[in-house]
Symmetry: C2
Subunit: 187 residues, 2 copies
């Protein structure tokens, strides 16, 4: 096999993840057969599974990538921008991620793969918490709880988008969140 550069590898990996996301969003986890994945990605199964161990692993890589993208928006551009991004997200892809949660609970291979991805995400958690801590937040509740709280609101909103329920006024929503986590005024 010809040697390809790290940069070229990263590009190809990104191509696979992007194509797979489109395919999973459209077909669902079960419906995204290897043939359909090949077609959506524009590469042969050989090339695809050179980068990923299995379909479950590929799916989880797309989930992980999505999660990191949104976390980046949140930490880099703020929670208000994140809310905007969520209501504009691809509801089909959100729905497929929710559908897949049952696989995490019942499919052993999926579970093992998920634990691997979770471990990777956990490794970078301290850096993310540190970046969150650089924001202006109350200091009487642990940063970790504040992070989880903000994640609950974000995921709750994503769930709402997925079921096509009316989106609330995001400025008002942000005002509630911000009051909850912002610095306490001195009494």
């Amino acid at each position: 096999m010809p040697k390809i550069s790290e940069e070229r590898k990263a590009e190809r990996r990104a191509q696979i993840v992007a194509g797979a996301r489109r395919c999973f969003a459209r077909e669902g986890y079960e419906g995204a057969t290897v043939a359909r994945l090949e077609h959506a990605i524009g590469l042969s199964r050989g090339a695809i599974f050179n980068y990923f161990e299995s379909k479950a692993d590929l799916f989880l890589a797309v989930v992980e990538e999505t999660s990191l993208e949104y976390t980046e928006i949140w930490l880099d551009r703020g929670f208000r921008v994140l809310l905007d991004e969520i209501v504009q997200a691809d509801a089909d892809w959100l729905a497929v991620q929710l559908e897949a949660i049952r696989h995490f609970r019942t499919d052993e291979e999926f579970k093992r793969s998920a634990e691997e991805h979770d471990r990777r995400l956990a490794e970078s958690r301290p850096q993310r918490l540190e970046r969150l801590g650089a924001q202006s937040l109350r200091d009487d509740v642990p940063l970790e709880t504040i992070g989880i709280f903000l994640g609950l609101v974000a995921n709750g909103l994503a769930l709402r988008v997925t079921v096509d329920d009316p989106v609330p006024d995001l400025d008002q929503l942000y005002e509630l969140v911000q009051t909850g986590v912002g610095p306490r005024s001195p009494r």
Copy 2:
């Protein structure tokens, strides 16, 4: 067919909903065949589908029932108690409800049935908002947004329970929520 009293009808309907919830939680939406539903409920398909139009309709009735139960806990016993109930909820049943969201998006019969159930839930929304309004809340953000915000936190937590992520300290979480929605102190 022998006439049965309204009370007996309500009892039987509750029996069907309870059995169906167990069956859907264990088998998933697809896996819950009519034969398995009959077994879990302890009634024949004739009796079951005397009360519900279709499997989709039955499933959505169980979803609706679950939603009303949690709303009742929230409005009657408060949001802090609701948080406790969510972390003790049956994660399998939560996962199946999430899995079914894709059906809402792709299956026409499911969609029609869901709209019917949504309409019913919407009818009782004004009363629920009124009960929420009786609580001690800030008055500079519309009650409806406050209701949606609390729903996002609750659903986000349910999602977290479903993927087996560690549950945050609920008192700390409640403190953040309460600061967000509680009455504003005079400046």
